[in-house]
């Protein structure tokens, strides 16, 4: 979707606060982070579903609120969609109904840390599908403007670049976020010249590289 989150190339956000390397500035941010990571097991939701819920926040809130408050608001959305919490509970700050946890089991500390250390399974065997494109090939990014979650930023759509790597076959974010399973796709690193993306306002000689799934691309 063409959301406020897709801000590559925008003007108006001022200078980078280069000295602000805060990770958690307040304890509630730690708790927010922990809740998002932990609830992902019980609800459950994938990272891409959580990202999409963030992208669907009201644009003014996306900009106004703290980064971790946006994470929490997105998780509230996912909890409500799953029927596990309702709006009145969140407003009152108290539980008003019980749920059947059979399909929403809480994760324990050991399991959670062990799984976090192990990481997610996102890649599929190389022989499960044939690549449509090859390294060294020039491709164009499709000009798509769907409502759903996607990982192709607006600033490369319709633009041509060079495939510099085939990273393998990965779960496809667009499909996962839409609840349609991993739908594995080849994912390529595509290099664009800055002037292709930004015209005369680009940075002469410089390039931008993105990892783009095969369905985002077409041959030229």
């Amino acid at each position: 979707m063409n959301g406020i989150h897709d801000m590559g190339g925008m003007h108006g956000f001022g200078k980078v606060q280069v000295d602000d390397d805060t990770v958690f500035g307040a304890d509630w941010q730690r708790r927010a982070f922990a809740l998002v990571e932990t609830l992902a097991w019980a609800v459950p939701y994938s990272t891409d579903q959580h990202r999409y819920a963030i992208e669907c926040l009201e644009p003014v809130n996306y900009l106004k609120h703290d980064y971790f408050e946006n994470w929490i608001e997105a998780t509230e959305t996912l909890l409500i969609e799953a029927g596990l919490v309702d709006r009145s509970e969140l407003e009152a700050g108290v539980k008003r109904f019980d749920i059947n946890c059979e399909n929403h089991a809480p994760v324990g500390p050991q399991t959670l840390v062990a799984a976090t250390r192990a990481g997610a399974e996102m890649i599929f065997p190389a022989d499960t599908s044939t690549a449509a494109f090859h390294v060294g090939q020039r491709v164009r990014v499709l000009n798509t403007h769907r409502q759903g979650h996607t990982r192709v930023p607006g600033y490369v759509r319709g633009k041509c670049g060079l495939i510099i790597r085939n990273g393998g076959i990965f779960q496809f974010a667009d499909s996962l976020a839409a609840g349609n399973g991993p739908d594995p796709q080849h994912c390529y690193t595509v290099e664009f010249t800055s002037t292709t993306l930004w015209g005369d306002d680009g940075s002469q000689g410089d390039t931008i590289c993105l990892d783009l799934w095969e369905p985002y691309l077409e041959a030229i």
Binding site: G25, R31, R51
Partner: protein, 215 residues
């Protein structure tokens, strides 16, 4: 951002800098803190969350991840040519061999700065970042200013970080749009020839491994 947590912390997790000073009163900040506490109470009461898991995951990230991990990887690469080759060929495996692995680091690609190419990493769409080797992302990396500008005017942004690149050096910006996370291998600085790996690790900064500093 106020660093003081408000009200009694009944879970006993106050790692904040409660230094006794009154910080600026930020109603947005207070609203967010209340909101998070309310959600925590509800989901714990419903049995969706084990409070011990909340503690454990924060402790894991604060203790076991962070840029010191990445610095060890870079120092090793600077001092061990075979490891460097492996790191550039299969970053994930080489990094795993040093004990660093996990969520948001399942597929790490290491990109090498040279005399002619400087690399810098961003996630324009959210804030993707290689957690096992760099920890959670700093505020500036997640800011609209950085995300919006570094893909369009990287040299201006790098200047704000104090990094002035010669025009003969090409900038390559890596926008982390899929499942690969990027770690920059900075150039080993002149004058560091006598240093061993632990000494080198001490001079390697988080920003150097993102690409907003030279080392």
């Amino acid at each position: 951002m106020a660093k003081k947590s408000h009200g009694p912390n009944k879970h006993g997790h106050d790692h904040g800098n409660d230094d006794g000073h009154d910080h600026a009163h930020d109603p947005l900040e207070e609203g967010a803190a209340l909101r998070v506490r309310a959600l925590e109470e509800i989901v714990v009461a419903k049995g969706l969350v084990d409070p011990d898991a909340l503690d454990a995951i924060v402790e894991y990230y604060e203790r076991e991840t962070g840029p010191r991990n990445g610095a060890q990887v870079i120092a090793r690469a600077w001092t061990d040519p075979d490891f460097k080759d492996w790191l550039l060929k299969d970053g994930t495996a080489a990094i795993n061999s040093l004990g660093f692995s996990g969520y948001q680091g399942e597929h790490i690609r290491v990109i090498e700065n040279t005399d002619t190419v400087h690399n810098v990493v961003v996630c324009t769409l959210c804030s993707c970042y290689p957690w096992p080797v760099l920890g959670l992302a700093p505020a500036w990396y997640k800011s609209p200013a950085y995300r919006s500008r570094v893909v369009r005017e990287p040299r201006v942004v790098l200047q704000e970080f104090g990094l002035n690149l010669a025009s003969s050096v090409k900038v390559r910006v890596w926008d982390s749009t899929a499942e690969v996370r990027y770690l920059v291998l900075p150039r080993r600085p002149p004058g560091s020839e006598g240093m061993d790996a632990p000494e080198l690790a001490n001079i390697i900064t988080r920003n150097g491994m993102i690409g907003t500093a030279s080392v």
